[in-house]
């Protein structure tokens, strides 16, 4: 197989397969959660559910002071690389082109040197959290093979993207093909691993806010 064959395979059939598995898997999981609903609460509601639910979806981005003090590293570096990952994913112009061709929607991107710098920070952040996970005794004790697996499948697309952008793998179709291939692995594993938190975190936050809202408590 030539590098170009590999690129065309990853851009064509494999990409379709990956997004099919991703869409199928994540929607089955999400709609199963929605359809299950929650146990009926017979107590009289003291407040609205929807508004506090939506507010909490956003408010959980801010760590409470206690958490920040206890786990400064996790909050700072975790936020840093998550934001970097999302910026590189959604504001790099070739990515926007891909989204436009698949979903039909588009938005303005960021200049490449900015995305490049953000990607470098994201890579460093990801390496730092891995080192922290391996050296921190409690984290290490709590880590399961899946935690290392999802770190790897998250790290690889960012790394290969960075290498492809800087042309550190030759020939270029191989570099781009590898990048797309690692993204496909990420997409395929997403619905079946802890990576579902990308979606379920917001569902959990909503329920959390809604439950407290119903009780008339701020969350």
């Amino acid at each position: 197989m030539t590098p170009m064959d590999f690129l065309l395979l990853t851009k064509g059939p494999l990409f379709s397969l990956a997004i099919a598995i991703f869409a199928l898997g994540i929607l089955i999981r999400l709609f199963e959660i929605f359809a299950l609903g929650r146990a009926h609460n017979y107590a009289a509601a003291r407040g609205n559910e929807v508004i506090p639910g939506l507010k909490t979806m956003y408010r959980r981005f801010n760590p409470d002071p206690g958490t920040f003090k206890r786990s400064t590293f996790d909050v700072v570096v975790g936020t840093l690389w998550h934001v970097g990952f999302v910026i590189a994913l959604l504001l790099f112009i070739p990515h926007i082109e891909l989204i436009k061709s698949t979903l039909g929607v588009s938005w303005p991107g960021l200049p490449n040197p900015v995305v490049d710098a953000v990607t470098a920070i994201t890579l460093l952040g990801l390496v730092a959290v891995l080192i922290h996970r391996l050296t921190h005794p409690v984290k290490r004790f709590l880590s399961r093979p899946q935690d290392y697996l999802i770190w790897t499948v998250t790290f690889l697309p960012v790394l290969t993207g960075y290498l492809a952008y800087h042309r550190l793998i030759n020939p270029y179709p191989l570099a781009l093909g590898l990048h797309i291939f690692t993204v496909e692995i990420f997409l395929i594993l997403l619905p079946f691993t802890k990576l579902t938190h990308i979606f379920t975190a917001f569902v959990a936050r909503y329920y959390n806010g809604a439950i407290f809202g119903r009780k008339g408590i701020q969350s």
């Binding site: 030539t2 590098p3 170009m4 064959d5 690129l7 065309l8 851009k11 064509g12 059939p13 990409f15 379709s16 997004i19 099919a20 598995i21 991703f22 869409a23 199928l24 898997g25 994540i26 929607l27 089955i28 999981r29 999400l30 709609f31 199963e32 959660i33 929605f34 359809a35 299950l36 609903g37 112009i93 070739p94 990515h95 082109e97 891909l98 061709s101 698949t102 979903l103 039909g104 303005p108 991107g109 960021l110 200049p111 490449n112 040197p113 042309r167 030759n170 020939p171 270029y172 179709p173 781009l176």
Partner: protein
């Protein structure tokens, strides 16, 4: 046929001034990324070089490569350089035809055995394909190539058809076309890709061979690194617009008129390695991107099949939007179904729940 006249003598006979010749040598040195101090060395070597015999084989091709070379901004020194190699066989350019032409080829092969250069443009039906798809004077392309390279010093594959199969090899490849490098294993093969290649690149490769008697440093695809070492994208004068995120959205919008990046119009510059952006075409007048047209990636393998010419490089082939929609609809239906089923099961379990007393539990312990 190779004559005893040196290149320097020939050039002077053709009216090329010493100054013009040295200018060419300096340009060649910079093209090959050599220090300027190498220019006199190149001049010295080229002056003394004997005209090498070149046999040019044209197989499944459109003659565009020959057109590119012969119709290039003449009269310049590179045309003359080409005039003064001994082009002993080129069935498009030579006067002789039929048996006489084939005779010229055989004679050149015998006289210069082990020393001549073979230039090939065009792909050829592979050993397993029907040889009848392309023949010359009743000889199949495959037989002619194998016969000719036997005594060759090196083979230069000119154009994307000869280097990677090109258009004849494009899906579904009806003639079973293969590239020169797929067949020639025991001789050095230099790939000068492009559809057609930049003329200066062809003459540059020949100049290197005459100067150093060695073959140039080659990249992963067997192309001279001096000319194919950098991507169009990295040397494109429109690159700052790409980095700033300013794109032409159509061929006639304000962005196109302002000369912004053509990535969104399908430019394959980022994956294409060639010298167009630096050496340009038609005597350095312009090149496709400068003319407002996205790079097609013509110097890369399988560029005909590498997704649409007018689709951005990052855009997937096929119809992922439809796949996403179908998979999404199925996923939603299955998810709702699974959720409702679990709910139903939960209710049933609650209904059939047999109450256990503490005494019963203790009995079990």
């Amino acid at each position: 046929m190779a004559t005893s006249k040196t290149l320097g003598e020939s050039l002077r006979q053709h009216g090329v001034s010493r100054r013009g010749f040295l200018k060419f040598c300096a340009a060649t040195a910079s093209m090959m990324a050599l220090p300027p101090s190498m220019a006199p060395a190149i001049a010295q070597a080229l002056e003394k070089a004997r005209r090498p015999s070149v046999i040019w084989l044209s197989f499944q091709e459109c003659t565009g490569c020959t057109e590119s070379l012969t119709r290039s901004f003449s009269p310049t020194v590179e045309n003359l350089i080409f005039d003064v190699i001994s082009l002993d066989y080129h069935h498009t350019l030579q006067a002789a035809a039929g048996d006489a032409a084939e005779h010229a080829r055989e004679q050149a092969m015998n006289t210069n055995a082990g020393e001549y250069l073979v230039v090939v443009d065009g792909s050829l039906p592979g050993p397993k394909a029907n040889p009848g798809y392309s023949t010359i004077a009743g000889i199949s392309n495959y037989d002619m190539l194998m016969d000719t390279i036997d005594g060759a010093a090196a083979v230069v594959a000119v154009g994307t058809c000869a280097t990677f199969g090109g258009l004849p090899k494009a899906d579904p490849n009806p003639t079973g076309a293969v590239a020169v490098q797929d067949l020639v294993k025991d001789k050095p093969v230099i790939n000068v890709s492009g559809c057609p290649p930049v003329p200066m690149v062809i003459t540059g490769v020949l100049a290197q061979f005459l100067t150093f008697g060695t073959l140039p440093e080659l990249d992963e695809y067997g192309r001279p690194r001096a000319f194919f070492g950098q991507s169009i994208h990295d040397r494109c004068y429109r690159r700052p617009f790409y980095d700033k995120g300013k794109f032409a959205e159509s061929f006639d919008d304000e962005g196109a008129k302002a000369g912004w990046c053509l990535y969104r119009l399908g430019c394959k510059g980022p994956m294409t390695y060639n010298a167009c952006a630096t050496m340009k075409w038609n005597g350095g007048a312009s090149w496709p991107v400068e003319a407002g047209y996205p790079c097609l990636g013509c110097s890369e393998p399988d560029f005909w099949d590498a997704g649409g010419f007018y689709k951005a490089l990052s855009v997937p082939t096929g119809s992922p939007g439809d796949v996403l929609l179908t998979a999404g609809a199925v996923g939603t239906a299955v998810g709702v179904g699974a959720g409702l089923m679990s709910r139903h099961q939960g209710k049933q379990a609650a209904q059939h729940h047999d109450k256990v007393t503490a005494d019963q539990l203790e009995e079990k312990l």
